[in-house]
């Protein structure tokens, strides 16, 4: 039973890889299926973050090297910090540009910006 720890790591890495890939593919599917930019950002920011986080963790564990694991964790931390920012900025920019919510929407309490008249 000398290869037991190796087996355990292999199983853990495989599980992380499969689950991470699943979340990534579902995030991509969400981008395709959701009706407008705002709902698409939900798929990209949440499922995308978890998906890439699990994949990074799998890479870190597989390397069996504390330096690489720390780098993978740092990558995940940066992902958690930056994913909501990009989702927020895209949604804000879209709303300011007058991009309307999907017809399914039930409410929009954010006031639309006044259209500025631009000189031609």
């Amino acid at each position: 039973m000398t290869d037991d720890p190796d087996m355990l790591t292999a199983v853990a890495v495989s599980a992380l890889l499969v689950i991470g890939s699943l979340f990534s593919v579902l995030a991509a599917l969400g981008l395709l299926r959701f009706p407008d930019l705002y709902t698409r950002m939900h798929a990209a920011s949440k499922a995308g973050t978890i998906g890439s986080g699990l994949l990074l963790l799998a890479a870190g564990i597989h390397a069996m090297d504390i330096a690489i694991l720390l780098r993978a964790l740092a990558g995940f931390a940066f992902f958690v910090l930056t994913a909501p920012l990009s989702a927020h900025l895209l949604a804000k920019a879209a709303h300011q540009a007058g991009y309307r919510l999907t017809n399914l929407s039930v409410t929009d309490q954010l006031p639309q910006p006044q259209p500025k008249s631009r000189p031609h």
Partner: protein
């Protein structure tokens, strides 16, 4: 004192990211950290907060739990043949006042189930949140104000 602590933290982050804990690399990290802190020295001097470490850890734990639930929820929604979305943007009245608290709340909201921060009003009193399921905005508002907003206030007492 806080400056030194943050600088040491930045040094360790640098070593972790560059993947080498040799003395030379740590010194380089210390220098880079000091330079970065020097760049933001004015904001840093203004930002001195009391932190309740235990509550901050609780907040972090709750956040990662919510993030996992959130990803699972979105994933399940995506594979459903009929998505039955009722999205919308609701206005959330903020009781947090400091900028970093609002930023933190907005980021946490974005990574939790079904909600996404879109904008903050200019007077910083209202946070506009997009929700995948917005048929009951009052319940969503209550969940945020008794959840993350309360926890942030506890983690950073005035």
């Amino acid at each position: 004192m806080t400056f030194l602590a943050v600088n040491l933290l930045l040094m360790l982050t640098w070593a972790a990211v560059s993947g080498s804990f040799t003395l030379h690399n740590l010194l380089l990290g210390l220098a880079v950290g000091a330079l970065s802190l020097w760049l933001v020295r004015e904001q840093f001097a203004a930002a001195r907060h009391r932190v309740n470490l235990v509550k901050l850890l609780v907040l972090t734990a709750v956040f990662f739990k919510e993030l996992s639930l959130s990803a699972i929820k979105v994933a399940l929604l995506v594979i459903r043949p009929n998505m039955q979305l009722r999205p919308g943007i609701f206005a959330f009245p903020l009781t947090l006042t400091r900028d970093f608290e609002i930023t933190l709340l907005a980021n946490l909201i974005t990574l939790t189930p079904g909600t996404l921060s879109v904008d903050v009003s200019d007077d910083r009193k209202t946070l506009y949140v997009h929700a995948l399921d917005c048929h009951d905005p009052a319940a969503e508002k209550r969940a945020i104000s008794t959840g993350f907003e309360r926890r942030i206030r506890e983690a950073f007492p005035l």
